[in-house]
Symmetry: C2
Subunit: 248 residues, 2 copies
DNA sequence: CGGCACCGTTCCGCGATGTGGAACAGGTGA
DNA sequence: TCACCTGTTCCACATCGCGGAACGGTGCCG
């Protein structure tokens, strides 16, 4: 496997600081590097925010950049860790893939998915960002927005992904009224042909919606006839359990 | 300020992955690097554990090494963030420096300190590790250990820092009995001449001691005559408030 | 007060390292 | 089957990182 010496050395330097702040000479000794090399690596890492100089100019310590970089994976992974068992239950209960997403700008960002046991299923959207108005997870987030934030969203571009995508603001507002009433949202073939999904919002301790749970499947079998409400309530219940866990 | 191009590029690559997994070609485009350069940087970062390849060999995502490196600062900093306001109150209330430490092997590791308003004060021990038997924070941690763990500690080397340091195991055991009874521990000039300190344990939700709060000061004025118990109880109360916050 | 030790920082000649274009193998979809 | 795109690897080359030496600053000690 390829290697870049400077990256290896940079991590050796970072590792020496994992136990607490050190001066240049100490870092050099522990990383087995010449002092000028250690100084140069520390200066470069400091430019990136990966280390910072404590109390003036004497000692270096790990900087916030590492936390910032990993906080995305940390925070999402902790929501993922809490939610995942519930997604597993939901996938088993519904026979379709269950997923998790969080708000990110004008989109929802898919951060986890449990696949359906059915070999015919919708692909994994994890990592993808999709405009809120076109997916069920997005609609439940939109339904939770304060009026000003919702109007700001509706004033922006509303992309039509398929012939079924609802892009007229007044129709979206009406729809969100129903979403608030029902506690879940259905979308059929609006983001992509052949896919239907139902989502419910996850609220944190302050009642603020931090994400959504959804189940999606191929439209030819999902939802089964007469099952839309039952499925919606199952997703709503799973979202409620995840929210409770967040609050405990 | 000095710079190392490879480190800058490595962070550019890591930054592209902060939003989610990407393939080599995507990373190269977002980091504005040639594909072979991006591939080599990714391979080297993978060797360090800073990135890992998701699902086989297709996409890269941020690896656990960043979290592991920063978890020391993250976990301690979150305890520090919770505890700090209470240390400020305690320092004001007692007129002496208040500090925070966590267990680390045979030592306590000092991770925060609020200085005394008095210009004459004990230096900041933050970052230092000191053997438990020689400091008040260590004694409260020792008092919380299960018998086997305590005996294992007492079977190890017990350094005598000053003529006052208690190093005879039976005398330490008796002392710990008193610490458990009182809920706090006093140490006078056992780690360093001229310094006295009082500490109380911080317990988490399961009752396990995760750290200690202490106040220390120059022995000539601390504790003031007849104030030892009052000071001990104040520190114990602050530790209790921190523990409650950890549990909420 | 002066000498000494040690620190962090900076410089610069040098050659080792990283660069990046090109080529390759494999996978995918029309 | 073919076109396209991916990730991977190679290698000539020159840029970059190296590291020894020197410097200025600070603190300690006699």
């Amino acid at each position: 496997m390829s290697r870049v010496q400077s990256i290896e050395r940079a991590f050796a330097v970072l590792t020496t600081l994992a136990d607490g702040p050190l001066g240049v000479t100490d870092v050099a000794e522990r990383a087995r590097l010449p002092k000028s090399t250690a100084a140069r690596l520390l200066a470069s890492l400091a430019r990136e925010g990966a280390v910072e100089q404590a109390d003036g100019r004497s000692e270096y310590r790990l900087g916030r950049r590492l936390l910032t970089l990993s906080s995305g994976i940390g925070a999402s992974r902790s929501l993922v860790a809490i939610a995942h068992p519930f997604l597993v239950e939901l996938a088993e209960q519904t026979g379709e893939a269950a997923g998790l997403s969080v708000l990110d700008g004008r989109t929802v960002h898919y951060i986890d998915q449990v696949d359906s046991p059915n070999p015919v299923q919708v692909r994994d959207w994890t990592g993808t960002r999709i405009s809120m108005h076109a997916v069920s997870s997005g609609l439940v987030v939109l339904a939770s927005l304060k009026p000003a934030a919702l109007e700001a969203y509706l004033a922006g571009p509303l992309e039509r992904f398929t012939e079924h995508t609802v892009v007229i603001p007044s129709q979206i507002r009406d729809r969100l009224w129903n979403v608030r009433r029902d506690g879940y949202a259905w979308v059929r073939e609006e983001f992509a042909l052949g896919i239907s999904s139902v989502a419910a919002p996850i609220a944190d301790a302050s009642g603020e919606v931090v994400g959504a749970v959804h189940v999606h499947g191929p439209s030819y079998r999902f939802p089964a006839a007469g099952q839309a409400d039952t499925l919606g309530e199952a997703v709503e219940a799973a979202a409620g359990r995840i929210g409770s866990r967040l609050r405990s």
